[in-house]
Every structure is written in C-alpha cells, then in structure tokens.
C-alpha cells in the first residue's frame, strides 16, 4: 500500500475552470464572428438586423458569465494558488505569471467593453465604438492565454477547437478590414498587419512552445507543482 497522498486528486474546480475557460473561448469567438456580421449589416428576411444584434449581445454576455465562472473556479481551486488579484491584475501571480496574466489582461479589456456597452447611452456613440475595438485585441490575448496556461493544450480536441476558432476570427477580421477600406483604410491596414503578425507568431511558437517539451516548467509553473500529476501536460486519462 503506497503512502496516502496529501491531496486526493484534482478537485471539481480544476475541471470546471478548464471547461468554463474553453467554453468562454468558444463563446468569445462566436461573439466576434456575430459582431463582424452585425457591423457588415448582414441580414435576411428570416434573420433581421435586430435579431443578429441581440444575438451578438447575448452571446457576449453569456461569454462574460462563463468567463466569470472560469475566474472564480480558478481562484477557488487549491492547486495552483491563484488569488483573485492574480486573476484580475495582469502578471502579478506566481503560477505561470505571464500566461495567466494574459488572461487577466483579456478580462480587463472585456470588462471595459462590457461596461461601456451597458452604459452606451451615457458614454455616447463615438467613445463606445472606440472602446469596442478593444475586442479585437482581447481575443488574441485570450487565445494566447489558453495556449500558454491551459493544461489541455496538447490534446487534439483542444488544438482542433483552437484552430477552428482562430480561423473563424481570422476570416471575420479579414472581411471586416477589407470592407472598411474606403473610410478606415489606415485602420484596415493596421488590422491586417496585426492579424498577419499574430498568425505568423502562432505558427512559429506553438510547436516549440506549448506543444514542446517541459512547457510547464518553461511557462513558469512553480517548481513545487511540477512533477505532481496535475501539473503534467499529459492527457486527462493520466490524472488520478
């Protein structure tokens, strides 16, 4: 009979934080795609503009709900000692500070977007629209966070999911940037350049980074947690 382990295995929060995180990413992707369709004024008799608009708004709010659950469960989970501060203030944590910090950053951006959207009438149209453009920044930051922090990153399903989400957002941004060519040409060029750079970065970094060896150590996981079955980047089935 082996020594009883001090901790009995991954808590429910650990699973919840991973699942809600994944769902958040999918919902955020949906929100970006719907936002792109909305601003391009796509509508059919069966899907009038106000439906698309309401859908975009509701998917975004749902994404925020799941994001809050993701943050809450990651704080409550005792494994990686992520405090509430770490979750909201970027880069101050002890667990994979940079990659977790990206998540906090993404959340902060989304917080600004959400608040200005809820208070649109107070804030006024132009201020609201400028802040809303931060969503184009918060999505890639969220994806990097998922790839850098996530324990499931080496699993096929997550990689496939991330790829599908990435392609959906790329398509949306490319379409939006080229459509705005007349009026916001400078912004369009900037968006295309940023998108190209980001995609290139992913292609170069992911194979040697999260998918490479010893990513847990390289990404800043505290030494005490490495070697524990939680912290390995093995698949789910390996967890006891």
């Amino acid at each position: 009979m082996s020594v009883v382990l001090a901790s009995s295995g991954p808590s429910a929060y650990w699973y919840l934080t991973r699942s809600t995180g994944t769902v958040s990413l999918v919902l955020l992707t949906g929100a970006v795609v719907l936002g792109g369709l909305d601003v391009q004024r796509i509508s059919t008799p069966g899907w009038p503009r106000f439906i698309l608009d309401a859908l975009h708004r509701n998917v975004s709010l749902l994404a925020i709900v799941f994001l809050l659950l993701h943050i809450l469960t990651s704080v409550l989970d005792s494994f990686a000692s992520i405090s509430l501060t770490d979750a909201l203030v970027p880069f101050v944590g002890s667990y994979r500070p940079f990659w977790l910090g990206l998540g906090a950053l993404s959340f902060d951006l989304l917080l600004a977007v959400t608040l200005t959207s809820l208070l649109r009438q107070r804030v006024g149209f132009h201020a609201w629209r400028t802040v809303h453009w931060l969503t184009y920044a918060s999505w890639p930051v969220a994806l990097l966070h998922a790839l850098g922090t996530g324990s499931d990153v080496k699993s096929t399903w997550l990689l496939m999911l991330s790829l599908v989400c990435l392609m959906a957002v790329l398509a949306t941004v490319l379409w939006r940037a080229t459509a705005a060519w007349g009026e916001h040409a400078r912004l369009g060029r900037f968006a295309l350049a940023g998108t190209g750079a980001f995609t290139l970065f992913l292609a170069l970094w992911v194979p040697g980074g999260p998918l490479g060896s010893e990513w847990a150590r390289r990404s800043g996981t505290p030494a005490a947690l490495i070697g524990h079955s939680h912290a390995t980047t093995a698949t789910n089935e390996d967890h006891r």
């Binding site: 004024r41 509508s43 009038p48 503009r49 106000f50 608009d53 649109r120 009438q121 149209f125």
Partner: protein, 70 residues
C-alpha cells in the same frame, strides 16, 4: 401625454433596425434612411418605439414627449 418620433439625420447611418422593430410607423426610403410619420404615436406602440430607439446603433432615433395634448 403623447409621443413623437424624430430622427437625428446626422447620426443616422441607415442601419434600419428601427424599421424592423416598428414597421407600423417607420419605413425605409430607397437609400435605407427612415421615413417617420409626423403624427403623434399611437399609445399602444410606445413600448415598441422605446425598444426601437434603444436598438438604434447610433442613437439617432429619438422618442420625444409632447407636453401639450393635441
């Protein structure tokens, strides 16, 4: 208390959501800009009108309260 519809033509960018949400009173011209009737709003439509005004992406649609009853 009666209400009137008014549009800020400078803010209006012809999204057309107002016409979708209040088709009884708002139609769109050939360029997509709203045609509002001049008459006061039917009380039964006021809630729909409020929703239409809230849905306008640029806050161009305005619901104005009339003080004097007509």
């Amino acid at each position: 208390m009666s209400y009137r519809l008014r549009v800020n033509p400078i803010a209006c960018e012809a999204h057309g959501m107002c016409a979708e949400l209040l088709p009884e009173r708002i139609s769109l011209d050939e360029w997509g800009y709203p045609l509002l009737g001049e008459e006061p709003l039917d009380p039964a439509l006021v809630d729909h009108a409020r929703r239409a005004a809230a849905a306008c992406p640029t806050f161009a649609l305005l619901l104005q309260r009339e003080r004097q009853p007509r």
